[in-house]
């Protein structure tokens, strides 16, 4: 049984006790503990259930590679599932619970799967679910949905805050172990801007645990001295709890900083996602120890040899009382020595190598420990904890030679360099036969914007697995005990039969065993990427940190090929999972996305507005009064505007000034109409097409002066159209003298609309707004009620109408003044829906309703707005193409249902016969449809084949539920056909 040792623990502070709960039971730990070390110190070794077989699981590792012990952490609005106990720093009041079991961790019904393992081989689900769709929907999916997932999904909004930050450096050092610190020191001494990121809370990596000497000092002392030196340099930033999650194109690195996880009540942001641009990334990400694949290697108490050392040295926790070490290399002997020093009994060291010598081996032997060369674990005994190991010869089928009682097994299959960051943006790895590992190929690095390498790898990540090798690589004096070569061991024992291989785990989290990978190979999965997906090897949240190399070695063996031929799967960012909160950053709630507000936004809100999103703007849709539905209020607004006077906030309308000697020529290219001939002081409705011929925007163009025009665009189109103009000016006609400026936000614009509009403006006073003084389709600059304004006589409703532009900062004051002065005329605000209905009553088109990117002006009977005189304009050539000139193109008409009801939006008019897909032929569709309170019936606009030639014909529009609506083709101008009301 695991327990806390009386002394030691370099990372814990015994003076600070910390209380936490796990599965509703209270435990104590110390400041500096991880959740894993505290649980282990409290004697808890059964900490989870595996995903597929629900086998009892405990800690295998001590860091990011831990596959088993994922917990639900926190509660309520701070619950987060799948948190790795080994990387969770303990804090007072932490609440954790185990996952994937029912009803309890100790007694789990799902464990029945473990007895059924022969029936749940690799690809079981794929094979089974192919049976029938009926079986999938009725049987499998409900069962799978019940069983799927590890932790519990939170049901409340996250209470924490998250943020992102940008940083720039010459050298980013990924990893704060000895190799990383050496690289940082070197770059800093060269005057580079250096950023050092260490994923844990502590510097020095493995060296303080593993020992040795650097520049005459113990590693811990050297690390301290180096940190002090780096800390004094202005060009160095040191960051702990910060993982380099990914290295991307052009040296773009994503760093994940856990700012507040360990101090949840200090008001800090929980996580910060760093977006770093690094000239060069020094990858010092270390190496991860590999498990050995023997039967029962997942029983709680079987751990990586390095993890056993970490728990003892860092947190003064002994994972057991009696330990068996099983290895294929010298490094694991350090664990034996460390365990002896901590007072544990080392029952034996099983060394799979036939020949084990060297200083570390001798040191262990000298302390009276049995070292059995050429030996292996045949099988671990125990279910919820190790009871004993059955031992055998490595070169055997597993015949048991002896049974050794123990409660902890420390295993080491060698080390795999962490090559992830080097690989993320294209760096390649190569197989190192002597070290039995993939390591970065320095000849094929990831490259940056100048074709230069953007990553270099140092230390264990580069295959320099010993302190001696690492120091030699960095040119620093230092080293540790000499080590003899590793002998690769991929299956233990080498000739293990099925009974053993069925329980020899490769991927702990996804329960993938040696037998599964071999089965995949027999079934024809030759590609490692396919095998991965078929068996789910390496697809869990640990992304195969422990399992990948063992898995592909076994696949290679099964396929009878060398490991480099099989290759690796793709290393993808992030290196370990990062929170959604960090990815989201500040973009949530009110600032999820920019909300554009007009100067009158607050007034609308205070007057019960119902909003309509238009691009990023919010525009008033309608202003319902108490007891009114939206339809009622829209009707009221329309009737009032057509009878009295209505006010519309039109500030969102695009307003682009175009000026210069060539401005007229330019606008003649931009618009289908002739704009160069527009007299100063006049307004003209214009159409804009893309050079592909399609209608993209419309609006009123005003000639402000001889060389200056003001172009109004749609609300959603302002930025796009301004960009469109600048594109042509900068990239095609750069010798034309034209300047543009987007003044959309400079002005608040208010439409004053209705028969009493003139009376209202006359009451404000200051300008002649009479028919003679300001005729229809003209404009004037002046003052109204003391406001500096520009007034346009334009109408989108068919009524007498003035659009008043006023500097935005005065928009609200003028809007309020109009309401105040207009009370006696029955003034009311109206929203976009009333605007839409009124324009439809007048047969005016709306970009986005009548157009959808495939409609040309000719389709909308707007031929009158297309100049015949101009040699060229954007879209002219395209509109000459055969399909554009086709007389069969659908054209705009009005539609009126026979019974006065409202047609559904977007419905199609059917034609005789069917097409090649056996669908009914169609001959038209509805583009706009409304109830008209003015005409007291449904009105619609639509595009119909030969429509304008078919006035009076009745078309069938099949709607939902088998209903067929009938509508007659009519003139699209439903209201005031002569246009007399606007021009008064």
């Amino acid at each position: 049984m695991s327990q806390r040792l009386q002394t030691g623990g370099r990372l814990i502070d015994r003076s600070k006790e910390v209380t936490f709960t796990f599965n509703h039971t209270r435990y104590k730990g110390y400041a500096g503990d991880t959740l894993a070390s505290a649980l282990l110190g409290a004697g808890k070794s059964l900490l989870g259930r595996s995903f597929k077989y629900h086998r009892a699981r405990g800690l295998v590792a001590s860091g990011v590679e831990e596959p088993n012990v994922l917990v639900n952490l926190g509660k309520g609005d701070r619950l987060e599932p799948d948190q790795r106990a080994t990387t969770t720093e303990l804090f007072d009041g932490a609440v954790a619970s185990s996952q994937n079991h029912w009803p309890t961790l100790a007694f789990d019904v799902g464990a029945i799967n473990d007895y059924a393992y022969r029936m749940l081989p690799a690809g079981f689900y794929y094979k089974t679910f192919m049976l029938s769709t009926w079986a999938w929907h009725k049987v499998f999916e409900p069962v799978v949905r019940q069983a799927a997932g590890l932790g519990a999904a939170p049901t409340k909004a996250d209470a924490d805050r998250y943020e992102q930050a940008y940083a720039y450096c010459d050298v980013l050092v990924a990893g704060g172990g000895v190799a990383g610190l050496m690289a940082a020191l070197k770059a800093a001494a060269e005057g580079k801007r250096v950023l050092v990121a260490e994923q844990t809370a502590h510097w020095g990596g493995r060296a303080p645990v593993d020992g040795g000497e650097i520049e005459g000092m113990a590693p811990e002392a050297w690390v301290k001295k180096t940190l002090e030196a780096l800390g004094k340099m202005d060009n160095v930033r040191l960051m702990t709890r910060t993982m380099v999650a990914g290295l991307h194109d052009h040296g773009y690195a994503i760093l994940y900083e856990r700012v507040g996880d360990h101090v949840p009540d200090e008001g800090r942001p929980r996580h910060r996602l760093w977006r770093v641009r690094a000239g060069l990334t020094k990858v010092a990400s270390g190496a991860i120890e590999r498990p050995l694949a023997f039967a029962g290697n997942d029983v709680p108490g079987v751990m990586l040899a390095s993890a056993v050392r970490d728990y003892i040295v860092n947190w003064a926790v002994s994972p057991g009382k009696e330990i068996v070490v099983v290895t294929n290399n010298d490094d694991a002997y350090r664990t034996a020595l460390c365990a002896l020093d901590a007072g544990m009994k080392v029952v034996a060291v099983l060394d799979a190598r036939e020949w084990a010598h060297g200083p570390l081996v001798e040191a262990v032997k000298a302390r009276g420990v049995r070292v059995l060369e050429g030996h292996a674990v045949s099988k671990v005994r125990g279910k919820s904890g190790v009871v004993a190991v059955e031992i055998c010869h490595q070169d055997s089928t597993g015949s048991v030679l002896e049974v050794l009682g123990c409660d902890c097994v420390a295993m080491s299959g060698g080390w795999s360099p962490v090559v992830h960051l080097y690989s993320h943006s294209g760096g390649k790895v190569m197989w190192d036969e002597a070290g039995a590992m993939f390591r970065p190929d320095p000849a094929r690095p990831p490259v940056g914007d100048k074709g230069q390498p953007i990553a270099e790898v140092v230390g264990a990540a580069n295959g320099a697995l010993t302190l001696s090798a690492l120091c030699a690589e960095a040119g620093v004096a230092g080293g540790a005990e000499e080590e003899n070569p590793i002998t690769p061991v991929w299956i233990m024992p080498a000739k293990a039969g099925n009974d053993l291989k069925f329980k020899a785990f490769l991927d702990y989290q996804n329960d993938v065993k040696v037998s599964d990978v071999q089965l995949a190979a027999r079934e024809g999965y030759a590609s490692v990427e396919h095998t991965k997906r078929y068996t789910t090897l390496g697809m869990a949240t640990d992304q195969g940190k422990l399992s990948n190399i063992n898995g592909l070695a076994i696949l290679s063996d099964a396929l009878g090929q060398a490991i480099p031929q099989t290759g690796t799967t793709t290393f993808r960012p992030p290196y370990t999972p990062i929170s959604f909160g960090a990815v989201t950053g500040e973009a949530r709630g009110d600032i999820f996305q920019p909300l554009r507000k007009t100067p009158m936004h607050g007034w609308h809100e205070a007057h019960g507005v119902h909003w309509e999103p238009v691009g990023l703007w919010r525009r008033p849709y309608t202003y319902p009064r108490k007891g009114e539905g939206h339809r009622d209020s829209v009707n009221r607004e329309i009737v009032n505007t057509r009878t009295n006077v209505g006010l519309l906030d039109a500030s969102t309308l695009g307003k682009i000034v175009v000026k210069g000697p060539d401005a007229g020529k330019f606008l003649d290219m931009m618009y289908t109409n002739m704009m160069s001939t527009l007299p100063v002081g006049k307004c003209r409705y214009g159409l804009m097409c893309s050079d592909n011929g399609f209608l993209i925007d419309d609006g009123v163009v005003v000639r402000l002066a001889e060389d200056t025009w003001l172009c109004h665009t749609t609300s959603g189109g302002a930025d796009h159209i301004h960009g469109h103009m600048e594109d042509w000016l900068q990239c095609e006609w750069w010798d034309w003298k034209v300047y543009t400026a987007n003044l959309t936000e400079q002005y608040a614009q208010i439409a004053v609309v209705g028969p009493k509009a003139r009376k209202l403006l006359e009451k404000l006073g200051g300008m002649d707004v009479s028919k003679e003084g300001m005729p229809f389709m003209t404009f004037k600059d002046g003052e109204l009620a003391g406001f500096p304004v520009r007034v346009y006589r334009i109408s989108f409703s068919g009524e007498l109408s003035y659009e008043i532009a006023v500097p935005a900062n005065m928009g609200l004051a003028l809007w309020e003044k109009l309401h105040e002065a207009g009370a006696e005329f029955g003034v009311m605000p109206y929203g976009t829906e009333a605007l839409h209905v009124m324009r439809a009553e007048k047969g005016f088109i709306m970009i986005g309703d009548e157009t959808d990117g495939t409609v040309i002006p000719q389709d909308l009977n707007l031929g009158w707005a297309i100049s015949k005189k101009k040699e060229d304009f954007l879209g002219k050539r395209a509109q000459m193409r055969t399909h554009m000139a086709d007389p069969d193109r659908w054209k705009l008409v009005g539609l009126e249902t026979l019974d006065g009801t409202v047609l559904p939006d977007g419905v199609y008019a059917v034609d005789e016969g069917v097409n090649e897909n056996n669908q009914r032929n169609v001959q038209g569709r509805v583009t706009s449809t409304y109830y008209s309170p003015t005409l007291k019936k449904g009105i619609a606009m639509g595009l119909v084949k030969h429509g304008p030639e078919r006035m009076g014909e009745v078309l069938d529009f099949p709607a939902d539920n088998g209903v067929v609506l009938q509508a007659r083709i009519v003139d699209p101008v439903f209201y005031d056909k002569a246009g007399e009301k606007a021009d008064v």
């Binding site: 052009h250 490259v447 914007d449 050079d691 960009g723 900068q730 750069w734 060229d872 050539r877 000459m880």
Partner: protein, 107 residues
Amino acid sequence: MLTLTCPCCGVTVEETELAPGGEAHLKRFGPGSTDEEFETYMFARKNPKGVHFERWRHAYGCGKWFLTARCTATLEVFGSYPAQTTEPPAELIAKIKEKRPGWEGYK
């Protein structure tokens, strides 16, 4: 995510400040052109694995369009230059030829 240098305001910026504009150095064909010419101008685009000339707008910065030469396979950027030209600068072409001896040229 790419970094490109805007030749108009002289800063090296990340892609989030930029808007892409597709292939550079297209020749516009208007009225009077053949269907084939118009089709080529409007629709035919190169899609090379290797050197490519592109339009970018420094949308969040100075608002100006500029052109770049970039390798679509390695993302190496050979250079950027103002948009007011019908063909890439000679020195840029020379630089690319030096770095990519097998390159067939920009046309």
